[in-house]
């Protein structure tokens, strides 16, 4: 697989920055979002993303809320969509999911329905969505239907016109290029991104989000004059 372009369409984020100077992002997901394998809370990808976006969008008030709960299926997250995403009124939601559905083999048709429902909810609330691709696994044969579930995710994103963050391709690239040692890539637990991996993931996401928003005149957050001291 070649390096996929990642430039999401983010009208809500652009509007929020123009009008309020604020950018709120919800990171909805399972343990890769919660920060499995990271050495500390602030090394998880949402934490790095927040720091990175704040740096790249000077003047904007950027907040990335970590709503990752380890072990959750797409359905579990669909149930959380209202309270954890919509009620937070973000401009963007990054949805990292499907891994537990693939492991549990919940049924491809069912998964497609759940994803479509989740996407529909976010869309109805006027939130831009980014879906995150599955991780690349060194030995996918353990889960015979892994590719099929990934295909459902890719197809749903395409059909719905939602940009898919190419995590799979990225990780596969890392493993081929040997930029990371296997330990760095997967950590003690085999494949969770450790700090370096989370950092790369967050940087690529920040690249895409900044490019997706495009050049924007940021209204100073709160509309007030910056205090000088």
């Amino acid at each position: 697989m070649t390096k996929a372009a990642f430039q999401p369409n983010l009208p809500a984020a652009r509007k929020a920055l123009q009008e309020t100077g604020r950018l709120t992002i919800v990171a909805l997901g399972s343990s890769a979002t919660a920060g499995s394998g990271a050495s500390a809370e602030d090394k998880s990808y949402p934490a790095v993303l927040q720091a990175e976006l704040s740096r790249r969008l000077p003047g904007a008030e950027v907040q990335v809320l970590n709503k990752g709960v380890g072990g959750q299926s797409a359905y579990d997250m669909l149930l959380r969509m209202q309270a954890d995403v919509i009620d937070e009124k973000p401009a963007i939601v990054i949805w990292q999911t499907v891994i537990n559905d693939a492991i549990r083999d919940i049924g491809e048709e069912k998964l497609a329905k759940i994803l479509n429902k989740g996407i529909g909810k976010a869309r109805a609330a006027g939130i831009d969505m980014i879906l995150m691709d599955l991780p690349w696994l060194p030995r996918e044969g353990r889960y015979p239907h892994y590719d099929d579930y990934r295909a459902v995710l890719v197809k749903t994103a395409r059909d719905q016109g939602i940009s898919l963050f190419p995590r799979y391709a990225m990780m596969k690239g890392w493993s081929n290029s040997r930029q990371f040692t296997p330990e760095e890539l997967v950590g003690m637990d085999g494949l969770h991104l450790v700090d370096a991996g989370y950092r790369c993931l967050a940087l690529r996401l920040a690249d895409g989000i900044v490019a997706g928003i495009g050049p924007v005149r940021i209204e100073a957050a709160g509309g007030g004059v910056k205090p000088t001291n």
Binding site: S30, S31, A34, G35, S36, G37, A38, N66, K67, G68, V69, G70, G71, Q72, Y75, L78, L79, A83, I99, N100, I103, R104, D105, I106, E109, K110, K113, I114, K117, L137, P138, R139, G141, R142, Y143, P144, V186, G187, M188, D189, G190, L191, H192
Partner: protein, 408 residues
């Protein structure tokens, strides 16, 4: 025919009519047999993606083995500790209940440690991180101190280790629910439903880890437990279920309806307004906060079991029933062993790429081990009890009838 006014009187006032014909109280094998079956189903379902789990009840109805387990927990707690309250008073019953809660707590912690060990071993040997993901055990490896404190305070529960904490909380609430059911089962159920609905409105649940909540929300699941307490109270008083043919038919119709909904894909009725509803129940029913469909389904099943399954020892006479009853009588041991076995099974399944032969072998082996454990423990108790009663029989006089729930 006199059972109906008696039943109504029970629901309102918690007492039978003075002249009611009561069923003879005695050990009811239905509880043990069904509980044994539920334990085996839970074991199979805790290995998702295996071919046998596609034939388990959750595919054919709104409720599943967890609902049965919690309902029977309420029934048997009433027979065990409610009986003790009546015979020995609250002090003795409270002490026994406290001892039982302690046992459950220790069992939960032990299973937690064993599961962490099993997963750690598997991950370091296979380099497959997804075992950690699947069981949500990462917090234990990332911040062991915090996770350990969370485990001890029941505020961190990895997947599959969430039923015992619920059981502990519900059993802790038992005296309050029992005394309420003694006054009025109907009011108790009404109050219980109100708490559930209020918890939904105010989004009440107990915390699990830094961001999550309990998988089994106790504010919701107390409804199923309370229903069990009311059923247990009726059994304790020897009140027979009234012959309400219309209710039997309604229950059968609802179960059949659930079956059709679950096995069909999409909306078979063709009524457009129902599309969303069909979609939502086919995608899954809200297990965390319970769902009306779940409650109605378990209620219908319970009603039919009370009405039509033979009471007394009949169900445990034939070999399959007897084997299940042994598992049900030793439910805590069998449950804990089942958790460890199913998580080990998940790992073996993935390592063998879900080979069909291995799947069937693991399911068969697990069921054999769990039922074997039940038989062994029953036998063990019988031989140790024989020795003990020989020593203490003259001093103790008449023994209390042993409650249906094995509380040991």
């Amino acid at each position: 025919m006199s059972s109906q006014p008696s039943f109504r009187r029970f629901l309102l006032l918690g007492r039978p009519a003075v002249d009611a014909v009561l069923a003879a109280p005695g050990r009811d094998a239905r509880i043990d047999v069904i509980r044994g079956l539920a334990l085996l189903i839970i074991f199979i379902n805790h290995m998702p993606g295996n071919v046998v789990s596609a034939y388990m009840p959750h595919n054919f109805g709104f409720s599943d083995a967890a609902d049965i387990f919690v309902l029977l927990a309420g029934v048997s707690a009433t027979l065990a500790y409610g009986g003790l309250i009546e015979q020995r008073g609250f002090a003795v019953a409270g002490l026994k209940l406290g001892a039982r809660l302690w046992t459950l707590y220790i069992a939960h912690i032990a299973v937690f440690i064993i599961v962490c060990g099993v997963v750690a071993t598997a991950v370091t040997r296979t380099q497959n991180p997804l075992y950690i993901e699947a069981i949500n055990i990462q917090p234990f490896f990332r911040d062991t101190v915090e996770a350990l404190i969370g485990a001890l305070t029941l505020t961190y529960q990895p997947s599959y280790l969430d039923i015992l904490p619920l059981y502990i909380v519900l059993l802790g609430l038992f005296p309050a629910i029992y005394y309420a059911a003694r006054l009025s089962p109907l009011l108790t159920l009404g109050f219980s439903l109100t708490i559930w609905q209020a918890a939904l409105v105010f989004e009440l649940n107990l915390p699990n880890g830094s961001a999550g909540t309990w998988f089994f929300n106790p504010f919701a699941w107390q409804v199923v437990f309370t229903l069990g307490v009311v059923i247990g109270r009726a059994a304790q008083l020897g009140i027979r279920a009234p012959r309400l043919i219309w209710l039997d038919l309604a229950a059968v119709a609802f179960i059949a309806f659930a079956w059709v909904v679950k096995v069909s894909s999409g909306n078979p009725t063709g009524i457009g307004a129902l599309n969303d509803w069909f979609d939502s129940v086919q995608l899954g029913s809200d297990k965390t906060n319970l769902a009306w469909t779940r409650l109605l389904h378990i209620g219908a099943l319970a009603w039919l079991a009370i009405r039509w399954l033979p009471a007394g020892a009949t169900l445990a006479k034939a070999a399959p029933g007897r084997i299940l009853a042994h598992a049900g009588q030793n439910s805590l041991h069998v449950f804990c062993a089942g958790i460890v076995l199913s998580i080990s099974g998940q790992i073996v399944l993935a390592e063998t790429s879900f080979d069909l032969g291995v799947q069937l072998l693991i399911c068969t082996a697990g069921v054999t081990i769990l039922t074997g454990l039940g038989i062994f423990l029953s036998w063990y108790r019988s031989i140790t009890k024989r020795g003990a009663s020989a020593e203490s029989a003259p001093a103790r006089g008449a023994q209390l009838p042993r409650p249906s729930l094995s509380s040991r």
